[in-house]
Amino acid sequence: MVTDTEITVYHRPATLTDLGTHYCPGCTHGIAHRLVAEVIDEMGLRETTIGVASVGCSVFAYNYFDFDFVQAPHGRAPAMATGIKRVLSDRIVFTYQGDGDLASIGMGEIVAAAGRGENITVIFINNANYGMTGGQMAPTTLPGMKTTSSPNGRDVESQGYPIRTAELLATQEGAGYIVRRSLHDPKNIRLAKKAIRLAFETQVRGLGFSLVELLSSCPTNWGMDPVDALRWIEQNMIPYFPINDFKVHPVIASLRI
């Protein structure tokens, strides 16, 4: 029974639609969606935000957010976002991209966008494989990790090394805010939310390109139950992809929220 001493401490963010997602049970895509929606709510940006969905499991992200959205070709979301932002410079434009989309086929677009200091925000989901197509090797696949296209484990001699995207993009002069966070436990999820907030704050203030890399799970293609998958992020991904701030604009660094 509701009494006047009860307060709601947990509710669905207003900008998250009332739809069950198509993500697999235990997949952290859903958490990332929620964090973005909470930030958009808190900053009051629903009416001015335009999202750009990419190609990957999150291709249907537009179904879950209650604001304008477009859907880009594989890897090209930063270019589409640029087109929108250049025409509507007072709007908030963000892309939501997986690691295959952003760090493989779309590596050109993302580096160019960061280099131009494009005033957009990028939510980058690193789950160490191509989820949607059934778990092939991605640029973020760890050495020795088995995927459907590295059946004997990623052999760095012939298949190269995982790319540390946040570190790479932080070398760009045009970048205003580049950090890596993880979604494997509540504490890290809270830190991830704060980072997403700061990334949007960067854009609102016109301080250049902002990106939050989120270490994320893919229990389905990793062949693990959801809890093991979270543990796997902590034990295997974080050592290779350290959680860190790689570039933070001084204005953002001094921001208290």
Binding site: H74, I105, Y130, T133, M137, S149, P151
Partner: protein, 370 residues
């Protein structure tokens, strides 16, 4: 050799391996990915080259590079990925290199879906990349053909220094049928006289597609065209069913051709004299055969899994000599034999002239689906 139950994507991959594929470069995309996944295991096992590229753009240019060295090289993809390869294909054509490409088509345009479709016909058959070039296009309709045509693709590519594309829809990639794989060919030991493999004890060789002097470019284009004339003379392939006494003809390739075969059999069972022409080479197109059928038949029905792309090529051969009808299911839908049978009835019942373009007529009948 014994028959095995083989899945299309895997059968093509293994056929290419046995045809002497030395290097594969690709990128995952449904419904073709199993081909790449299979080769990610198989090629290294044999000490051959497999690279999952950063994109289809990367893949086709890796193919371009490897082709310069004279080895048997291949990539595979599906519609959106093939679109990305178009620039590379034009360069490869302009450099006159032999390359094999597998396109397992899905529904579109755009991201579309992963259901079977024949949406890439125009892009593949009529170029897609810029410039005057003529890829050879092979269209299997079953797993055995997919195997045989993949092997043939490598031979034709080298014979005519041409791009050869094996064009199939997603359902063939996923389908299993009994089929026989060819014996393993040894990898080649000698290389064509144009291969750039290091100028050891010989003059240097160069591969480029830039001809700043238009006169040289024109020469190249004419040379490519001349080779294409040879292809047209020698390499037309098709399958015909019940054509000997056919009054009406159905034309369809790949899976649409197979669906049409069921419909044609049903029409025959009803006593209708209907036959089927199933082009196996889409380029070169069986133009003479279709011209002859236009002269001898009371009507032609084109069936495709798109909005009528091959239709234009058929009409160019028919030149108005017999009514042409069209039935298509675009967007990732495989027509059912009964639907095609209805269209056969429509054709045989009113065999007179059509008023209007067959595509317009068809669209009017499709309004119910919009």
């Amino acid at each position: 050799m014994v028959k095995e139950l083989l899945k299309g994507n895997i059968a093509i991959a293994e056929a290419a391996v046995r045809a002497g594929l030395q290097a594969y470069f690709g990128y995952p995309i449904t419904p073709q990915t199993e081909l790449l996944e299979y080769l990610s295991k198989r090629m290294p096992e044999l000490g051959r080259t497999f690279v999952q590229a950063e994109s289809e753009l990367g893949a086709i240019n890796m193919v371009y590079g490897a082709a310069c060295t004279g080895v048997r090289v291949m990539s595979s993809s599906s519609s959106p990925g093939i679109s990305l390869m178009m620039e590379g294909l034009s360069y490869i054509a302009g450099t006159e290199l032999p390359v094999v490409l597998i396109d397992v088509m899905r529904g579109g345009p755009g991201l579309g879906n992963i259901a079977p479709s024949q949406q890439d016909y125009n892009q593949i058959v009529h170029g897609g990349g810029h410039g005057d070039y003529y890829p050879i296009v092979l269209a299997p309709a079953n797993i055995q053909e997919a195997i045989d045509l993949t092997v043939l693709a490598f031979d034709l590519a080298e014979k005519y220094r041409s791009i050869v594309i094996v064009l199939l829809d997603g359902s063939l990639g996923q389908m299993m049928e009994p089929a026989e794989l060819p014996p393993m060919q040894p990898l080649r030991e000698s290389y064509p006289e144009w291969a750039t493999r290091g100028a050891i004890g010989r003059e240097r060789r160069i591969h480029t597609s830039i001809y700043l002097n238009p006169v040289e470019q024109e020469k190249t284009n004419l040379r490519i065209l001349q080779r294409w004339q040879e292809v047209k003379k020698n390499e037309v392939r098709y399958k015909s069913y019940f054509l000997e006494d056919a009054e009406y003809v159905v034309i369809g390739f790949g899976t649409a051709g197979r669906v049409a075969l069921s419909a044609v059999r049903a029409a025959r069972a009803e006593g209708n004299k209907v036959g089927l022409l199933r082009p196996v080479t889409l380029a070169p197109f069986p133009a003479q055969q279709i011209e002859a059928l236009a002269g001898s038949s009371k009507g032609i029905l084109v069936v495709e899994m798109n909005s009528g792309q091959m239709l234009d090529d058929v009409m160019a051969c028919v030149k108005g000599r017999t009514p042409v009808h069209f039935y298509g299911r675009p967007g990732g839908i495989v027509p059912l034999p009964d639907e095609v049978l209805v269209e056969i009835h429509r054709m045989t019942e009113k065999s007179g002239r059509l008023n209007g373009h067959p595509r317009d007529q068809w669209l009017e009948r499709m309004v119910q689906h919009i």
